[in-house]
């Protein structure tokens, strides 16, 4: 539930409750006042009627407003107020009356004096007053609700804007997080806190990236020294076969380390967006080029290629990056296929797919595009090829995917979202 909705709901409930209680109270009070007034009138009228009786004047019989009966037997003096319904022959219906029945002894004779007042008028009054109150209450209710939701929406607008900005925030973006507020101190505080936080995170991220790049860079030189020194050393005629074999192991390890290091450097460079400069690139063209370069290698492993390159993607991108992308995907397909397998390459305007046969799906497909996630122990693999693929896709807004269907590992790049 939205905060605004929740707030409104509380507000509505409370106002409705207040309105109901208010109307009931108002009704009771007005009713009481009217009753009081009616009873007062009845009391005064009785006094007049009794006074007339005392003076021995004939009493007007005006039913049902005033009735005087002579009581035959002894009664105590009494004044009883009550509500009653009396049939009105004119209106042909029962109508509510308030009556005061008085037993009074005048000149040794007991009389019963009944004063009545029609309640029709007062109930109409009640109705009118009640209606007005209800109308006013409803108006107030609706008006307040409207004002409330409107102002709340306006009050929360900076929050919404900050939220939108946060959602779009990415660690690798070049600009700091930009937030707008309207001077409300809570939102100002939120803005400051968010900007401080994101700046700190961005700084840490930058440092980490710089560290990766610097570290890879620094490792490069000692590695080159090791390699070139071994290359010089193996020229020495005095080296025995055994020593040569040790040297070869060192040399291979140094080469491997160097390859891993270069891949890490490449990753850092892609991440730091050092591959600027986009030009129109036809992906099919690059696939063809790379396949030509690989022909010999696929032949050597006795791999078959099945290509379905229809109208492939036409992109505006950094060409060397696309070359690396295709190369790594092809390399992956070749590395993980068995002699005699068929590698499938398909392209449509929005998507390219590389498939190679496999007995079962990879165990953790979600880790496939991570760094150093090798599915098997291929010693020549750096474990970074697919991480580079994924990084290239990330900086370009493409999507790298893995699927396992009909005994095929399928790696795809979706260019159009």
């Amino acid at each position: 539930m939205k905060l605004l909705e929740k707030n409104n709901r509380i507000f509505f409930r409370f106002t409705a409750l207040l309105l109901v209680v208010g109307i009931v109270l108002f009704y009771l009070v007005v009713n009481w006042i009217i009753r009081h007034k009616v009873d007062e009138t009845l009391r005064v009228n009785r006094l007049h009627a009794v006074e007339l009786l005392r003076q021995g004047k004939p009493l007007p019989q005006f039913a049902p407003i005033l009735e005087v009966h002579i009581l035959s037997d002894q009664h105590g003096a009494r004044n009883i107020y009550s509500d009653t319904l009396i049939y009105d022959p004119v209106e042909k219906e029962e109508e509510p009356y308030r009556q005061l029945i008085t037993h009074e002894k005048v000149g040794g004779q007991w009389y019963e004096v009944i004063n009545r007042t029609s309640l029709v008028e007062s109930s109409e009054l009640m109705l009118a007053i009640g209606g007005c109150t209800l109308g006013l209450g409803l108006l107030l209710f609706v008006g307040l609700a409207w004002l409330n939701s409107r102002s709340a929406r306006r009050l929360w607008r900076p929050f919404q804007q900050q939220l939108d900005a946060l959602k779009k925030f990415s660690l690798s973006q070049q600009q700091p997080l930009h937030l707008v507020t309207d001077g409300v101190s809570e939102f100002e505080e939120l803005k400051t806190a968010l900007q401080d936080l994101t700046e700190k995170v961005r700084g840490d991220y930058r440092n980490l990236k710089e560290f990766t790049e610097n570290a890879s860079h620094e490792i490069q030189t000692p590695l080159s020294i090791i390699r070139s020194k071994i290359e010089s050393l193996i020229e020495n005629e005095q080296i025995t076969d055994e020593q040569m074999s040790v040297l070869d192991t060192i040399y291979q390890a140094a080469n491997r380390l160097s390859r891993i290091n270069q891949s890490l450097l490449l990753l850092a460079k892609i991440e730091n967006r050092q591959f600027e400069g986009a030009s129109p690139v036809l992906v099919n063209e690059i696939i063809d080029e790379q396949l030509k370069m690989l022909e010999e290698l696929t032949d050597a492993k006795n791999l078959h290629l099945r290509t379905a390159l229809s109208k492939g993607p036409a992109l505006r991108a950094n060409r060397p990056l696309i070359e690396i992308l295709i190369k790594n995907l092809l390399e992956n397909a070749i590395r993980y296929s068995q002699p005699g397998d068929t590698i499938k390459i398909e392209s449509t305007p929005g998507r390219i797919t590389f498939g190679n046969p496999g007995k079962r799906p990879v165990e953790h497909p979600e880790r496939l595009f991570g760094r150093f996630q090798k599915q098997s122990n291929h010693h020549s693999s750096t474990g970074l090829g697919l991480a580079i693929v994924s990084k290239i896709c990330e900086v370009n807004g493409w999507k790298a995917g893995y699927d396992y269907q009909d005994g095929q590992h399928e790696f795809s790049i979706t260019f159009q979202q």
Partner: protein, 225 residues
């Protein structure tokens, strides 16, 4: 032939100088921008091996002053891998070739020789090793005057061996020379081995001697000894 090696890392500089010295070149060294700038202004070299990232300034600046003072000097740029900018700028400024770090010394040697051939002999050269003759203009290899039919890779392999004769070539260096970025895969399939086997066979079948010696555990050596 006089070569200037501009490289800030002493160990690498010495390794390059040592390797090229054995090939019969006279090598001079410069470790930073200032020394390099001074040397290219004062002396004349046949070739300058130039690292782009130098302490004190950019190798590209050295290249500019070099091209002003001695436009005839050949330049081989050494740049970091994947820094396309340096490569393009360097070639624009008149560099002849580039090689990316880290490189194998035999690869550097091959580039240096190819560059010097193009510069000094204007590309009209044949390399001869006993009965084997490589015609660089037509990409044909003759054994005892008779052309041998070789695949492109076998031809490249032969050139690589001849330019690095009497030197041990590691399998990795050969794989990188022949397959570039795909060398990891090539390494896996023993492709180097099968290519060398085929090359040997073709040379021997055409009456040549087998000069390719296996260096136990490490690689191969092209030598008549």
């Amino acid at each position: 032939m006089k070569i200037l090696i501009v490289e800030d890392e002493p160990a690498i500089r010495e390794a390059i100088a040592g390797y090229l010295h054995k090939e019969g070149y006279v090598c001079e060294e410069a470790e930073d921008y200032e020394t390099a700038d001074e040397k290219v202004a004062l002396y004349e070299y046949d070739l300058v091996i130039l690292d782009i990232t130098l302490p004190g300034g950019s190798g590209l600046e050295v290249l500019k002053s070099l091209k002003k003072a001695h436009p005839e000097t050949g330049v081989l740029i050494v740049s970091a891998r994947h820094s396309l900018d340096d490569k393009v700028k360097g070639l624009d400024l008149g560099a002849d070739d580039y090689i990316t770090k880290p490189f194998h010394l035999p690869e550097l040697n091959a580039r240096v020789k190819a560059l010097l051939r193009r510069r000094v002999f204007k590309g009209k050269e044949t390399i001869t090793f006993n009965e084997i003759e490589v015609d660089l203009a037509t990409n044909i290899i003759n054994v005892n005057g008779e052309p041998v039919e070789l695949s492109r890779k076998e031809y490249d392999l032969m050139c690589f061996f001849i330019t690095n004769k009497n030197r041990v070539l590691s399998k990795a260096a050969i794989a990188e020379h022949l397959w570039g970025d795909y060398m990891d895969l090539a390494d896996n399939f023993d492709l180097v081995y099968s290519h060398i086997k085929n090359l040997r066979k073709k040379i021997v079948e055409n009456g040549g001697s087998d000069y390719i010696k296996t260096v136990y555990g490490m690689g191969y050596k092209f030598t008549s000894y």
